[in-house]
């Protein structure tokens, strides 16, 4: 950062896209998230890591109102995200979400998959939408697949299309939940490169991943979640080299092998 930039950011504290405070989420007696406080600033890439079942997916799902919450609050740009509320439809347009499972609509072509919500939800013109959809496909290297059906694509291609489908809504933030977990290793790369490219272009993202090398490369901040709370957070270079907590250290050890 230059001195000028530093001054600028001191004058205007970074604008928060997402604010979470005291979030409690439980399924019956099972308290999955137990008082989460965090926020994500514009342009920031936050990577959530933690052992399986610690509630990473649940946290992302709460953020766009797919799950009711039992305590605390979530807001997007100061607007509260409330499960089941009318305003949710508006808010969801500003949150792009890509899941682990391939979730393209099987009865629509790639192009129609991408064009559906800008046309139906944002009432944009067909020409305008199609043009932007093709540009996005071009950007992820899939322009030639526009007329294909999802069943004719590889897993990696499907996930790249799913990213385009979210991006075309021009979201304030992208939530990516283990989008490469179901992919063959050689396809992981092509998808993660697209995500790295988004990060470089300043897209605000919250990413859940088990790919530690990728997390280190893409993140501005790592958040380590365990037992329903944020155990530790920090910049990737610090976190991966010198985890502050014993739990984080133990978790990171599960990714290395020694004989």
């Amino acid at each position: 950062m230059t001195e000028q930039e530093q001054n600028a950011s001191a004058a205007n504290p970074p604008e928060h896209i997402i604010d979470i405070s005291g979030l409690v989420k439980s399924f019956g007696d099972n308290v999955v998230l137990d008082g989460i406080d965090m926020s994500v600033s514009r342009g920031e890439v936050v990577v959530l890591i933690g052992p399986s079942g610690c509630g990473k997916s649940t946290l992302l799902r709460c953020l766009n109102g797919l799950e009711p919450i039992q305590g605390g609050s979530i807001s997007l740009h100061g607007e509260p995200v409330v499960y089941g509320s009318k305003s949710l439809y508006k808010i969801r347009q500003k949150i792009g979400m890509v899941f682990q499972s391939y979730d393209l609509f099987p009865h629509l072509t790639v192009l129609k998959n991408i064009m559906l919500s800008p046309i139906k939800v944002q009432k944009r013109s067909k020409e305008d939408t199609e043009k932007e959809a093709m540009e996005l496909l071009e950007r992820v290297g899939l322009a030639d697949k526009a007329k294909s059906y999802p069943s004719e694509l590889s897993g990696g291609q499907k996930q790249r299309v799913a990213i385009c489908r979210s991006l075309i809504m021009n979201p304030e933030i992208m939530l990516l939940d283990e989008i490469t977990a179901a992919l063959d290793p050689e396809m992981v790369h092509e998808v993660l490169n697209v995500v790295l490219d988004l990060a470089k272009n300043g897209t605000t993202m919250m990413i859940v991943t088990h790919e530690m090398a990728f997390a280190e490369a893409v993140a501005d901040r790592i958040i380590f979640l365990d037992g329903g709370s944020i155990i530790e957070q920090g910049v990737p270079s610090e976190f991966f080299k010198r985890p502050q907590t014993e739990r984080a250290e133990r978790f990171l050890k599960t990714f290395t092998y020694s004989k």
Binding site: Y89, K90, D103, L116, K120, Y149, S151, S166
Partner: protein, 217 residues
């Protein structure tokens, strides 16, 4: 000869009439029933399940007797043969159709609903653009299959005195037993052809739909 053919045709018309009316009722009632069957309410689920199982376990023949003789005896309401037949086939068809509709909806993965909502679609938009089209694709071949089964099963109605195509055929054979001992073969061949002409196009349509869908599955 020509006269016999006309008689067969009018018998066929009875078959077709009963089937069409029953199928139409079954589609409408079955779709409603299917919507009810996807309910999360346990009691509703169990009631629907019991209904479906009872209808399935009892042969249609027994149902025909129950409605035609039993209900008439008990209530004094006198259903004609055709009305009884339509009632029985609708009770059966609606149950099967309901189960097909339920299955078609439940076969749609949860993430199809969630990703629709995440894109900002409203529930009506989601059902209209994402869920119904997928359910329908799943449903169509099965519905055609059910319709074919219903058409074939109407042959049972001769039991309660309705003169449908098979009954006409038997009458023609009996009437000509001495003059044309081989009439049976010809009459049954003609009936076979008639059923074939109705059911074959249906199964062709169903196959074409499945084939067309394979690309976008």
């Amino acid at each position: 000869m020509g006269n016999n053919f006309l008689r067969l045709l009018s018998g066929l018309w009875v078959t077709v009439r009963i089937s069409l009316i029953s199928i139409a009722f079954s589609l409408v009632l079955g779709t409603l029933l299917g919507a009810v069957m996807t309910s999360k309410n346990k009691v509703v689920k169990v009631i629907c399940r019991v209904y479906l199982e009872i209808v399935r376990i009892m042969p249609q023949l027994v149902w025909l007797f129950i409605v035609f003789f039993g209900v008439t005896r008990l209530t004094g309401a006198n259903f004609g043969g055709e009305t009884s037949a339509v009632i029985v086939f609708t009770i059966w068809g609606a149950a099967e159709m309901g189960d097909l509709v339920r299955g078609a909806f439940q076969a749609i993965p949860k993430h199809q609903f969630e990703s629709s909502l995440s894109l900002g679609l409203t529930k009506p938009q989601m059902y209209l653009n994402i869920i119904f089209p997928q359910a329908l694709r799943n449903l169509l071949p099965n519905v055609i299959n059910l319709a074919t089964r219903m058409i074939k099963t109407t042959a049972l109605v001769s039991i309660i005195g309705i003169t449908e195509v098979l009954k006409v055929g038997k009458q023609i054979i009996d009437a000509n037993r001495f003059e044309f001992p081989n009439a049976a073969i010809w009459v049954y061949a003609a009936i076979f052809f008639m059923y074939f002409l109705i059911c074959f196009p249906l199964s062709m349509i169903s196959r074409a739909i499945v084939k067309k869908q394979q690309r976008s599955e």
